[in-house]
Amino acid sequence: MKITLTVNDAAYPLDVEPRRVLADALRDDCGLTGTHLGCEQGVCGACTVLVDGEAVRSCLMLAVQCDGVPIRTVEGLAGADGEPHPLQRAFSAERGLQCGFCTPGFLMLAAGALEHDPALGEEEVAALVGSNLCRCTGYEPIRRAITRAARDHQNGQFHDRRQ
């Protein structure tokens, strides 16, 4: 099927099989390998991307379902000027990553949540962190990172790409 994926504001005209999952299309057809596959059954969340602003497991979605829908991946998280997203800064500052394999999924999950609700509370952050798997950090640094980014956001340091 001929589709066009719109990823991080760039158009990728593709000819894909209906069965092709979004993650594979992003990684192999668009060359955006920042989205990682950790389980391919929707549990680990490493492949989380934003589809029309909603966080989805890109291993559980077909590429053809995303024709013409705006998609954001970790490659599009930083601002147009290259300024890192507050989440990216916060993950580094709080040591929210070690091997970095699960990291893009956590970043996109949190980015989507922050855009929906800039004033994320403790419980919302806990629910977010509990959605994905990380085997290195023990999660607490990830929780701190998202909390820090939310605070930075409220202090007006958040660069909102939707504007």
């Binding site: 955006l32 389980c39 580094s92 091997c99 798997l133 085997r135 640094p141």
Partner: protein
């Protein structure tokens, strides 16, 4: 803004610019998918790949019969007769998921289509998954012991003897990135990209298996998504992929998915244990006996000997005068066991620490006091144990005291007493675990290759044989070299994980990188300073003693003229130190403590508090060490409460729903965890670093299990076997 990223790894990993093996694009690369056995054990009658070959986009499909030259797995054991481990099953399936055929496709979809069309016929045989059952069939691959047998009269005359049995369940290491290999033949060379812990070893093994000169193989380790011990070997799939790449003259890769990882990745632990612990009436330990039956999987291999680590470490942190450990490694019908974070030390710590708590109960002694009476005092180091280890240094009581203070041990004991007096209050339990472990490696792997090179541009390149899979080497090692040389850390960069860069290398496992490679890099930097001083002395026509080094420059002792590395290299030529650095093993230690609340009616365990006090000597980067310690504690929590590999009667793991069946801890399971540190440097290197990062897997599980036993006031702790699922706890409480 220089400080935007705390680690050098962070920018690429946070922006999607990391490069893991599956991210590498090579034109014409074929994807390998394996058709796997659905039975655990059976006689292979037929494999038919013909339909697979007809699938569009499939480049080829082969069974063992189609590839007579395909080499089998190397047998790393010495002596003892062996059972060959073919890279593709020849006539007998010995573990579930064992590869029957390999299909190469233009991409993974094509290859999976092909693999789905491979037909096989297997006559099933009974599968054996427990050591005891398999030992009865004579499948003993190794017998070993540490220490000397203990006389009967010791047991007969002791005031108390505690006897108990424990199971150290099979665990999946479960790095978020499964195994990967990409083999690219080109000219006379084969370049192998793999997320791996020991690139030089992988190079040697592949070169030997492919019967080609070692220098014709280059192994490169790019970003690696965790390993925890599980990526340090060569695997049947690696051999098949490398061999086909060479034979076809085409790039081939295998990117393991989670489903096959849960079936065929190496697993950790896997021991049935029996212990006897004797003490006098004052609680002084007299003798300890540990019997290990290890189920090591389907083939004799390197992992067969790893249970000996448990035997050597059986003494633990106590002054027990007599300790005897025996090991029997038995072949079963599972994928093989192999190191998983802790690798033999968790299996040593757990039975001893659990039994210490039972002993304390029998003696009506506080478990902390019992331990205090027996911990090796600082003045006894170096301490030679009855099981043959010589511990380098330690202050175990200091770690215990810090853990008790951090936990507010007395406060929790008071709370426990209060709840015990109140029938409506849910019971709480407090568990302790004092551990000592071994880091750096064993004889034969207590060295590494290191190098420090100064460039004309003023930059410094550090090289070492380690390979990071999340341990921040690119940040930590340059900082160490920079500190030694007295230059800005930004001037130093690290090259590792590339066999073309160093003549040899050992790798990153057994908590060895900071301890061995770190000490080696510090040493090499020191040698570079000496060489710089000698060269400057010649230039200035001065005795070396009249030169000095400070802030990255050499200068005459008298006078102010200084020459930086850049100028020195310009004037005297390339300046590179390469060393094979050797050190001895070290023994990190600590105390972990847990407080749990148990609902006896539901069997639910709620961990209220975890404290982990670790001593790994000098920490090169304390925040990095704490990060690893924390993650390690959470993996230990996983073993204690959630993780395990259950088997059906047919010997197939009951993990059909992947990570919905194999329960890795999520954030929802993380209790408040507090870390503490004591610092007792190892005297065995000038650097003083011991290994870090495995402590949580070692110290935490028995602390949690002891806490649950304490909450339930169990007389028969054998009923509590990990993982402590609600079912296990409910039955134990009943």
């Amino acid at each position: 803004m220089v400080d935007r990223w705390l680690r050098r790894e962070d920018e690429r990993l946070l922006t999607g610019a990391g490069r893991f093996v599956a991210d590498l694009r090579v034109d014409g690369c074929l994807d390998a998918v394996f058709a796997r056995s659905e039975v655990a054990h059976g006689v292979l009658r037929e494999v038919d790949c013909s339909a697979a070959r007809e699938v569009p986009g499939v480049a080829g499909a082969w069974s063992a019969a189609d590839l007579p030259g395909l080499p089998p797995m190397p047998d790393a054991r010495e002596g003892a007769a062996t059972r060959e481990w073919p890279s593709l099953v020849r006539d007998r399936v010995r573990y579930p998921g064992e590869a029957l055929a390999v299909v190469l496709g233009d991409d993974r979809y094509r290859a999976e289509d092909g693999a789905a069309r491979v037909r096989s016929r297997i006559d099933p045989l009974p599968a054996v998954v427990t050591a005891q059952e398999a030992a009865g069939l004579g499948h003993v691959a190794l017998r070993g012991e540490a220490g000397r047998p203990i006389d009967d009269e010791v047991w007969e005359q002791a005031a108390v003897v505690v006897e108990s049995s424990y199971r150290q369940q099979l665990l999946m290491p479960s790095p978020m990135e499964c195994r990967t290999i990409l083999c690219v033949p080109g000219g006379d060379r084969l370049t192998v990209w793999s997320g791996h812990q020991a690139p030089h070893r992988l190079r040697s093994e592949l070169a030997r298996l492919l019967d080609r000169p070692e220098e014709s193989v280059r192994v490169v380790v790019p970003d690696t998504g965790g390993a925890f011990g599980s990526k340090s070997a060569v695997f049947p799939e690696f051999i098949t992929v490398a061999w086909l790449a060479v034979r076809l003259g085409r790039p081939v890769r295998w990117i393991e998915d989670r489903r096959e990882s849960l079936l065929v990745a190496t697993r950790g632990r896997g021991q049935d244990q029996h212990v006897r612990l004797a003490a006098d009436a004052d609680g002084r330990l007299l003798a300890y006996e540990l019997t290990v039956e290890a189920d090591v999987g389907a083939y004799p291999h390197l992992g067969v000997a790893f249970p000996m680590q448990t035997a050597w470490m059986a003494t633990g942190p106590y002054t027990t005068p007599q300790v005897h450990a025996t090991v029997r490694s038995v072949l079963t019908n599972t994928m093989v066991t192999y190191p998983y974070r802790g690798a033999g030390r968790p299996e040593a710590t757990s039975p001893l620490e659990r039994t210490m708590d039972v002993l304390a109960t029998r003696l009506h002694l506080d478990p902390a006091e019992l331990r205090r009476r027996n911990l090796i005092p600082p003045e006894r180091f170096p301490y030679r144990t009855p099981t043959g280890r010589t511990y380098d240094s330690g202050d175990h009581v200091a770690a215990l005291d810090l853990a008790l203070r951090t936990l507010d041990y007395d406060g929790w004991r008071a709370e426990q007493a209060r709840r015990r007096a109140d029938p409506a209050a849910p019971p709480v339990g407090i568990g302790l675990s004092c551990y000592v472990e071994r880091s750096g490696g064993e004889k034969g792997s207590l060295h590494d290759y290191v190098g420090v090179e100064a460039g004309e541009d003023g930059g410094v390149v550090a090289r070492c044989g380690a390979a990071s899979s999340g341990q921040s080497h690119a940040t930590v090692f340059p900082a160490l070299v920079a500190e030694t040389l007295g230059v800005e850390p930004a001037r130093v960069r690290l090259i590792e994980g590339d066999t073309d860069e160093l003549p040899g290398g050992v790798g990153s496992f057994g908590s060895r990188s900071a301890q061995i490679d770190g000490a080696g890099l510090q040493h090499a930097a020191t040698l570079l300073i000496e060489e710089a001083r000698e060269r400057a002395a010649r230039l200035w026509d001065l005795p070396v003693e009249e030169t000095a080094w400070s802030d990255g420059a050499v200068h005459p002792v008298r006078g102010t003229a200084a020459m930086g590395l850049s100028e020195l290299v310009k004037r005297t030529g390339p300046l590179r130190i390469d060393e094979r650095y050797e050190a001895d093993m070290a023994f990190p230690f600590g105390t972990h403590a847990a407080v749990v609340e148990v609902d006896p009616d539901l069997g639910a365990v709620r961990v209220l508090r975890l404290v982990a006090v670790d001593d790994c000597g000098r920490a090169l980067d304390p925040a990095v060490v704490r990060g690893q310690a924390f993650g390690s504690v959470v993996q230990g929590l996983g073993q204690a409460l959630y993780e395990g590999v259950p088997f059906g009667d047919d010997g197939v793991p009951l993990l059909g729903d992947g990570l919905l069946d194999y329960l890795l801890p999520t954030y929802a399971e993380i209790p408040p965890i507090e870390l503490g540190e004591t610092r007792t440097p190892t005297p065995r290197t000038p650097l003083g670093a011991k290994g870090a990062g495995e402590s949580g897997c070692i110290g935490t599980p028995p602390a949690i299990v002891n806490a649950v036993a304490d909450a339930l006031r169990l007389d028969h702790p054998e009923r509590l076997q990990m993982p402590l699922t609600p079912d296990v706890v409910w039955r134990a409480a009943a």
